[in-house]
């Protein structure tokens, strides 16, 4: 017994000795709520590794991408120790700069594969290499203002399809004299709504093998048609990222649809609206249809130029591969864990005061299993640029049908990427 105790304490000592060995400073690049979320994991990290100083720099989403690509192009110049990367955009990095990031398998990530859902890894691996660790995911839900819905006589439980949503929107229009809309859609600035609806209908820019353009397939046609219907019924307004937040703060929209990470955005931007918000599943295209989709979701990678890779990996492991780390980020900024064990954490079932005491995380995570797969590929930005324009043109009436618009989009994406249009 004594022997066991001795060897146990020896093991513990060895463990803490290794932890004490890690020292120095690591820099982390991230954006907005995600950066704040990573910051919230620092205390638990420093409990294990007191000698490592973590500096999280919030550069903003676009800037992280741009500076990362520039840094990789310059052979790893000016890169941080931990780099945040969106799943959709990840493949550009691996395919253009395969040497810019550390293969996390060499640090032990291969042992963690089963702890995450398989779909989260597809965009993060290339060949045998595993370039980033899954972080959050973006199950789409509809956030709504309980008070505004109630005043307009709308019951969210009855909104099951997009047609129901439009009918509700007409009630809201009537009640508030068109001063409150159902949602803000990015039209001309982004194509998020198209992506969310396309994914819901099992369609995306490219097929999952990244070999063909599939944007003119039936699921995508339905998606674009729905957006046009929303505009024609005048139940939505237009605005970019900033405009959407402004509308939420000003109470000009009664709902907002986004990946669940938007929970933190609403909560931190409109703290005075506590208790007024709630969540319901995104409406389906037809009765009984899929009411789940994914928008966004990110990962963390270690640039090869990092001088402190061991500490960087320890940080990533603590934040992403432990239920404690993931739940801390869920609590602080609403980042939806993709770590399977974290989705079973008791916190998920807790009623959230901001959301009118609804256990929103249970609702949101419940959709994860229904999310159809989709893949960004290295041509994500090319396809997105085409689609932003085609969507805006279609809303404006430049195409006769959604199918005609998407055939045109497919042709343009194909000529920009060299990938054939799927039959």
């Amino acid at each position: 017994m004594k022997k066991v105790m001795l060897s146990l304490s020896a093991l513990l000592l060895a463990g803490s000795a290794a932890a004490q060995d890690l020292s120095g400073t690591i820099t982390v690049w991230s954006w907005d709520a995600a950066a704040k979320a990573l910051e919230s994991t620092i205390p638990s990290f420093n409990k294990k590794y007191p000698n490592v100083t973590v500096k999280v720099e919030d550069l903003g989403n676009q800037n992280v991408y741009d500076r990362g690509l520039a840094g990789c192009a310059a052979g790893g110049q000016d890169m941080p120790d931990v780099y945040s990367i969106e799943n959709n955009e990840a493949e550009v990095f691996w395919s253009r700069f395969p040497n810019c990031f550390v293969d996390l398998n060499t640090k032990g990530a291969d042992k963690l594969v089963k702890n995450f859902p398989a779909f989260k890894w597809t965009e993060l691996t290339a060949g045998n290499k595993r370039f980033a660790m899954p972080w959050d995911s973006g199950p789409v839900v509809m956030f709504y203002r309980r008070d505004l819905y109630q005043q307009a006589g709308v019951n969210p439980a009855n909104i099951k399809t997009w047609d129901d949503f439009i009918a509700a929107g007409k009630k809201v229009n009537a009640k508030f004299n068109n001063n409150v809309k159902m949602a803000t859609v990015a039209n001309g600035q982004d194509d998020e709504w198209f992506r969310m609806l396309a994914n819901q209908n099992g369609c995306f820019y490219f097929d999952n093998a990244a070999k063909a353009v599939t944007i003119n397939q039936p699921g995508c046609v339905t998606a674009l048609n729905t957006i046009k219907k929303l505009y024609d019924a005048q139940v939505v307004t237009t605005g970019d990222w900033g405009g959407q937040i402004t509308n939420v703060k000003a109470g000009k929209t009664a709902s907002a649809m986004f990946g669940a990470w938007y929970e933190g955005t609403i909560r931190t931007n409109a703290p005075d609206q506590k208790g007024k918000w709630g969540v319901y599943l995104m409406p389906a295209s037809k009765a009984g249809g899929v009411r789940a989709s994914n928008l966004g979701g990110s990962a963390l990678a270690i640039p090869s130029s990092s001088k402190n890779q061991a500490a960087a990996y320890a940080f990533i492991e603590n934040a992403l591969a432990t239920a404690g780390g993931q739940v801390t980020m869920l609590k602080s900024q609403g980042l939806v864990p993709s770590l399977l064990s974290a989705t079973k954490d008791p916190y998920v079932k807790t009623a959230q005061p901001y959301w009118g005491n609804q256990a929103v995380w249970q609702t949101i995570l419940g959709t994860l299993g229904d999310v159809p797969q989709a893949r960004g590929t290295q041509y994500f930005q090319d396809a997105r640029q085409v689609m932003i324009v085609v969507q805006a043109d279609y809303i404006k009436g430049r195409y006769k049908t959604a199918k005609e618009a998407l055939d045109d989009a497919a042709k343009k994406i194909s000529s920009a990427t060299g990938l054939p249009v799927a039959k």
Binding site: D66, L69, A70, A73, V92, S95, R96, N187, G188, Q189, T238, G239, D240, G243, T246, N247, A250, K252, Q378, Y379, Q381, D382, Q385, I388, V389, A392, D393, K412, S415, A416
Partner: protein
Amino acid sequence: MTTSQPLSPAPRRARTGRWARTPKAPYLFILPYLLIFLTFWAWPIVSSFLMSFKDSRLGADAPYALSNWSRLTQDEFFRTALRNTLVILVIQVPLMLSLATVLAVALNSKLLRAAGWFRFAFFAPLVVGTVAYSAVFRLLFNTDFGVVNRALTGIGLPAVDWLNQSGPAMSVIILAMTWRWTGYNAIILLAGLQGISEDVYEAASIDGATPTQQFWKITLPLLRPTLLFCMVLSVIGTLQLFTEPALITNSGPGNATMTLGTYLYQQGFRSFNFGYASAIAYTVAAIAAVFSIIQLRLFGRET
């Protein structure tokens, strides 16, 4: 004719030793600059030309081919960017230069008090950081909360969705550029005005020329070289236009305010397709060169 002495022929130097007698210090002094010029200017120019023949998305080993150039000829986005750039060019440059000329004449007037203060005020927009001024323009033209729409609705006009509609978005870009660059051109034109001799005006007044006649018959013709300089600079600047559409409208809505500059950036740094971006860059440079030659030919002749 006593001075008609034959010029003595220049002494012939031996071919050998010519280099030995040339002073080397000047070359040594310009050597650092030459090295920097070759590394950071000349080489990238050559390198990007070579790159325009490669599909850089395939990596460094991609074979040389014409794919980027053939894509350019049929790329609808490129045509949109070119068209937008030309629209801005045709509207904004003449608008700005006429404003700048009027402003310069006003600033040159002896009737104006505190001329120095006004000169500073009109030049000041250029000192403001581009990001800051773009952010301010975004706020001014915000549909729901912007002061411009507040003013419009205040006097009973309908509010305009400035940044989400193509026509209004374009006019915001043109307004912003005009606000920023008119004073700059006015200051250059003012320098040109001050180079015109007072005697000419005096003579004209004695002959009975009205101020309007003086402006059209004296000021404008004598200001032509300065105007030409401003015009060539503005045209080249507009062809490279990037900041305003990138920061105020983000090339949108759709591609309504996408310029050659933002499209190049988008291809280079969003899609990371440097080969294609290089092909675009060379096309822009060629267009700028052609425009400059045309302007110099049309307006550059000395009278």
